[in-house]
Symmetry: C2
Subunit: 627 residues, 2 copies
C-alpha cells in the first residue's frame, strides 16, 4: 500500500520534513497548513521539490470550522475554501481534510451540516478537489465516525467522503467494526496514530502524546483490518502530534515512522484473507510482507566494554559470580567469560588496541540466539535497522549485526550445536584461566539487560526491539529517582526469550541522564539469591548496601520472617511481591557511573522487575557515587 | 506563621533536601516516606541533622489505605502503623498524614471508617502521635474535605483531626468556604499547592503539575484565608509534586518555594481582619508583611550587551528606528541610545574593556521606573532576590539592582524629574552623536521585552516578576516552533507598567533552546507600523521577510483590504485580531541567534502579543539563520 506521513509528525522546516520523509522511503506526505504558511517556498516550488524527491502530496490539512454556520459566514467560509482549492491546484494535491466544527456558535443540525458540505464539495469539484470530512474526537456536534459518515451519506456528493483517523476513533473507545458499513470508495483518507492510554482531555492527549503504530496501546492492526475490509485502497498515512518527535532529528523520526507501517502491514498481511471478506467491488491492495520475526530463544551473549582501569572491576564481578575467563577472541581484544551457557564478553577499550563502539564503560552489544540468523538480519534490514560492518579476518564467522536506536549492536547468533560451535569458534582458549571464586554459583542465565536510552529515542527503541525481535512491550512505568522522574518499559519474548528493560529520563535533564539513573545493567538470574551474594562477597566485592530504613519499612508492610529480613539486609537483597510470586534481587556498586550488575531470583511466576525498588537502588548508587 | 515544605517538593537525597530547605529559611519539613526509606541516615541522625539545621519535622507522610478494611487487615494495618509511630518517635515528629483509602476492596461505610480511625488515634496517642486524615481528590469513597471532616467528627478522638490540602480541594472545584465549619484545633495540618488548570486525570495532574502558590491558577489567598479564619495556627506547608522541580537544583527550588509563601502571607496580611471573623477561641497568627510591591510605571531602560562585531548591527537598528546615541556612561563602556523617553543601553562586551553579565549578545538588564526604589529593593530582598553589587566610582548614582532567575539584572530606577536627572547623570554627552535615519519615527515606547528562560526556571521567573514587581501573569500558551514546542507566558502591570513575555522550550532540548526559539527580544511600540518599517529600511536594514504563503493565508481568512495586505507583505508586517482590537508587528533579523527587535502597533485595545504568528517568525529566523 501507499505510505504517507503528515508533515506535522516531523521536526524542522517544510523542506527538511520533505527530505526526511523521502529519505526514509515514504511515497507521499500530508501537508499540514502551518508548515506551508511558515515556508518561504512558493506552492509550485514545494510541488517541484516533492516531485524531485519522488513524493506525492496526498492531503492538504486541516480546514476547520466550516459547517453549521449562518448564511453570511457560510459564504465567507466558501471563499476561504476556494482560496485553499486554488493553492491545492498549485501544490498538486487533490484531497482536503475538513474537520468537524468545534465552534461554539455552530448549529448541530445534521441536515444543515450535510447541505453545507454538499455546497463545499460542489465548489471543490471544478478544482478537481475532494473533501474528506473527519469527526474530531472533540468536535462540537460531530465527534464519532459513524455520525460523520451519516452526514456525508446524506450530503451525497461524489466529491465528498470521510477521513478516518484512528486516534479520533480509538481514543473515544468507539467500536471500529462499524467501519465495515462505509463503502470503501467513500473513505477518502486514512490517518493512523497510536497513543498510550491516558486519562486526560482528548485534545491535549491528541496534541502531545500520539505516537507511531506499535508504540502505544491501541490495536491498530484490528483497526486497519476493518478499513481494508471496507475496501479502502488509499494511503496508510501517519498523523502524529508528539512533543518529542517535534524536537527530534526528522530523519530518525521518519525511519521510525516507516518502520511502524512496515510492521503494521506485515501483521495485516499475515491475517488478511481477501477471499473471506471481499465483496465484488474489492480492489486488490498489496501489503508489505517481511521475513518472519527472529523470536530469539535467549541471549547468546552480552558484551560489555570497559577501559583497562575498570575492566578489572568487571572481572572481579564476573569471577565472583562464578564466571570463568575461558577464551579470547582471535583478532580482537575481547575476553569471553562463561558460566555454563551464560556468556559475557568483555571488550577492552584500550585505545592502544583500538576501541569498539564506545569509548566508555557500557553494554555495547547484545547477542541473541535465533534459529535463522540470515532471515533475522533480512527482517531487520527491511525495518531500516542500520547494518553494522564487521572488520574481521577471512577465517572468522560471519555474524549479522545491526545497530539499535541507542547504538547498541544487536547480533543474530545461531545456537551452538553439539557438532558445531558457530561464532564461538572465533574465540580460542584463554592462555590463563582466571580462577573463579565461590565455586559453583547458582546462576541460571541472563534475566534481563537494562538499557538507559537517549531522550529522543525511547519510543523508537521499544518499537525497534518489538519489530525486529518480536518482543512484546509491557506498559510504561514512571519512577521517582533522586534527580527526577525515570520512565521504564520492559520487553519480553512471547514464551520466554530475552528480556530488555528500557528506561529514559522523563525530562531528559543532564544531571539525571548522567548520574545513577542513566546507567546500564546486566541482570543475572539465579535460584539462590543468598548463595549468589555470598559468592560475590567471597570474590572480593560486597553487594550494594541498601539502607536499614528500607528493611524497617519492609518489616512494617510485609510478614517476611525476621530472620529472612535480617539475611536480606546483610546482603542488600531487595524484595517485591505480586500475587503468589516473589522477587529477590541485589545489585553491585556502580562502575564509572555507567554500569552495574544485578542478580535476581524469581519464584511463583513473578514476572516484573521490582520497579518499586528502583528509586532505592538509584539513591544508593548515587550515595556511593558522591561519597 | 511557621513555614514548611515537603521533601518530595525538592530534588536530591533526603540530606540534600534538608540542607536546601534550611538554607532558604524554612522552619520545618514534612518527611515523605520514600525519601526516608531510600536514605542511608538512621532516623535519629535525620533528626539530629534537622536540629542542627534549625528545622522542625512537622509531618510524616503518607500512610495509605488504612480504613474500611476487614478485621484481619485492620489488625495488620494497625501493626503497620505502630511501626511508623515508633519511627516517628525517633524522628521527633508528632503528626502522621493518613490519606483516605484508594483500595478497591475498602468499605464505603462512614461509621466503619470512623471506628477504624478512632482505633488508629487510640493506638497513636501513647506515642504522642496525632493522626491527620486527608481526603485525596481521587479517594475511593472519601474525596471531599467535608466528608473527611464528618468522619473525623464522628470518630471523635483528641488525637484525630483533618489535614487540608489545597490541591485536593481546589482541583475538584470544591468550595473552600465550608472550611469555616471545621474548628481550627481540628485542622491538624495544612498543605498548600497551586496548579495550572488542566483537563486531565486528577491523580496525574497532582503527581506531575503541582506548583508553588502564585505559579498556577488556584486562588490560594482566598483558600488560606478560610483556613486561618477557622482558627488554624499550624504551619503553612508546601507539598508540590512537579516534574521540573524534581530534576532542578533544590536550593533554587527551595528559595522559589519560600518566596511563594512570603507573597501569600503578605497578601493575607493586607486582607486579614481578625476583628471581623474571629471567634472567642481565635489564637493570634503572625503573618509576614513585605514592603509594598514596586508597581513600576514603565521601563526606565533596557540594556543590551553585544560584542564589538555585533554592536554595529544593534546601532544600525536603533539609528534606523530613530534612536540617537546621546550619551556614554562615565566609567563603563555603555552607550545610551534615546528616542524621547525611550532608552536602550548598549554595553560592549569587548573583553579588553571588561564585560558585563554575559559574554554574548543578550538583553542583560531591565531598568524599571518606580516611585520608591529603596522600598522596591527591600521587597526584592525579602523575596530572596540576590542583590547585585555595583562596581562604581564614588560620584555615581547608587542604583538598587537584583538578579532575576535567568541572571538578567533588574534595576529599580527613580523617575527623572524636571529638576533632577537621577541615574541619567551617570551618563555624559556622547562625543559624537550618531545621526539618526528617517527623522522622527513614530515610536512611543517599549511595548514589551521577551526573555527566553532556562528550562528549570520558567515558573520561578513568573513568580519572581509577579512578586517583586507586582505584575500579573496571563495564562501560559504553547506554540509549535520548527524545532519543538515553546511555552510562553506574559506578565503585565495592572493599569499599564512594563510588559514581560517569558518563554521556554517545553522539553528543554538543545537544538531549540539554542536556535531561533531561544532568542531574546525588545519590542518597541509605535503608532504607525509602516512608517517605522520604512525608517528601518532607510536606515539600512530590512525587516524580517515573512513568506508570501503567510499573506495568501491571511487573504483567505481575513477581509483585510488587498492594498493593506500588499503593504504588509512588502514590509514583513504580521497581523492578529481579537474582538475589535488589531495588532500589526514586524521583526528585525536575528543577531547572533540571540537577539532581535520587534516593532508593534496596537489598536482598539488589543492586549495580546500575536502569539499565533510566533511559529512563523521562528521559522523565518531559522531560515535566514541556515541560509
Amino acid at each position: 500500500m501507499r505510505r504517507s506521513i503528515a508533515t506535522v509528525s516531523l521536526s524542522g522546516t517544510l523542506e527538511e520534513k520533505l527530505h526526511a520523509a523521502a529519505a526514509a522511503g515514504f511515497d507521499g506526505v500530508e501537508i499540514f497548513e502551518n508548515d506551508l504558511v511558515a515556508s518561504p517556498l512558493p506552492p509550485r516550488e514545494i510541488r517541484a521539490l516533492a516531485d524531485d524527491l519522488g513524493l506525492g502530496i496526498d492531503l492538504y490539512q486541516p480546514f476547520r470550522d466550516f459547517e453549521g454556520v449562518d448564511d453570511d459566514l457560510l459564504e465567507a467560509n466558501l471563499r476561504r475554501a476556494e482560496a485553499k482549492f486554488a493553492l491545492m491546484l498549485e501544490l498538486g494535491v487533490d484531497t482536503l481534510l475538513v474537520c468537524s466544527t468545534t465552534a461554539q456558535a455552530a448549529s448541530g443540525d445534521d441536515a444543515r451540516a450535510a447541505a453545507h458540505l454538499h455546497r463545499l464539495a460542489e465548489t471543490a469539484a471544478p478544482y478537481g478537489v475532494r473533501i474528506a470530512y473527519e469527526a474530531l474526537a472533540w468536535g462540537r456536534h460531530v465527534n464519532d465516525y459513524q455520525h460523520s459518515w451519516r452526514i456525508v451519506a446524506d450530503a451525497d456528493h461524489p466529491s465528498l467522503g470521510v477521513c478516518l483517523d484512528s486516534f479520533h476513533i480509538l481514543s473515544r473507545r468507539s467500536d471500529p467494526a462499524g467501519i465495515g458499513d462505509i463503502p470503501g470508495e467513500k473513505i477518502f483518507y486514512l490517518q493512523l496514530a497510536d497513543a498510550p492510554y491516558m486519562a486526560m482531555d482528548l485534545l491535549q492527549w491528541s496534541r502531545h502524546y500520539r505516537c507511531f503504530p506499535g508504540q502505544g496501546g491501541f490495536d491498530l492492526t484490528a483497526f486497519t483490518r476493518h478499513v481494508l475490509a471496507a475496501g479502502y485502497t488509499g494511503p496508510l498515512s501517519l498523523e502524529v502530534f508528539n512533543d518529542v518527535f517535534r524536537a527530534a532529528d526528522p530523519h530518525r523520526t521518519a525511519a521510525d515512522a516507516l518502520r511502524s507501517l512496515s510492521v503494521l502491514e506485515d501483521a495485516l498481511s499475515r491475517e488478511h484473507q481477501p477471499g473471506v471478506t471481499a465483496g465484488p467491488q474489492r480492489p486488490a491492495v498489496t501489503l508489505t510482507r517481511l521475513p518472519e520475526p527472529a523470536h530469539p530463544a535467549g541471549y547468546a551473549f552480552v558484551e560489555v566494554a570497559a577501559r583497562p582501569s575498570t575492566a578489572t572491576w568487571v572481572r572481579t564481578v564476573l569471577a565472583g559470580l562464578g564466571f570463568a575467563h575461558t577464551r579470547d577472541h582471535r583478532s580482537k581484544p575481547v575476553e569471553l567469560w562463561a558460566h555454563g551457557h551464560t556468556r559475557i564478553l568483555l571488550s577492552s577499550t584500550d585505545p592502544r588496541l583500538g576501541h569498539t563502539w564506545s569509548d566508555d564503560t557500557a553494554v555495547t552489544a547484545l547477542g541473541v540466539e535465533v534459529a535463522d540468523p540470515d532471515r533475522a538480519a533480512q527482517r531487520a534490514e527491511h525495518l531500516l535497522a542500520p547494518a553494522l560492518p564487521r572488520r574481521r579476518d577471512p577465517a572468522e564467522t560471519r555474524l549479522n549485526a545491526v545497530a539499535a536506536p541507542d547504538g547498541t549492536a544487536l547480533f543474530f547468533c545461531p545456537a551452538p550445536t553439539d557438532r558445531e560451535e558457530t561464532w564461538l569458534a572465533d574465540f580460542t582458549a584463554a592462555p590463563v584461566h582466571t580462577p573463579t571464586h565461590g565455586g559453583a554459583t547458582p546462576l541460571t542465565g541472563i534475566d534481563h539487560v537494562g538499557l538507559f536510552q537517549p531522550f529522543d529515542h525511547f519510543d523508537e527503541a521499544a518499537l525497534f526491539y518489538r519489530s525486529v525481535l518480536g518482543l512484546a512491550p509491557a506498559e510504561s512505568l514512571e519512577l521517582a529517582a533522586p534527580d527526577g522522574l525515570v520512565r521504564s518499559r520492559a520487553l519480553t519474548g512471547p514464551g520466554g526469550g530475552p528480556r530488555i528493560a528500557l528506561s529514559v529520563s522523563v525530562l531528559g535533564r543532564g544531571a539525571q541522564a548522567d548520574a545513577a539513573g542513566g546507567a546500564q545493567h546486566i541482570a543475572l538470574a539465579c535460584d539462590d539469591i543468598f548463595a549468589a551474594a555470598q559468592a560475590l562477597r567471597e570474590g572480593g566485592l560486597a553487594p550494594l548496601t541498601i539502607p536499614d530504613n528500607y528493611y524497617a519499612d519492609l518489616a512494617a508492610r510485609t510478614d517476611l520472617p525476621p530472620a529472612l529480613r535480617e539475611r536480606m539486609r546483610a546482603d542488600g537483597v531487595l524484595y517485591d511481591r505480586a500475587g503468589s510470586g516473589e522477587f529477590f534481587h541485589f545489585y553491585t556498586p556502580l562502575l564509572d557511573s555507567r554500569l552495574f550488575f544485578e542478580v535476581v531470583q524469581r519464584t511463583g511466576g513473578y514476572d516484573g522487575y521490582g520497579a518499586a525498588n528502583t528509586p532505592v537502588r538509584m539513591a544508593a548508587h548515587r550515595a556511593e557515587h558522591t561519597q
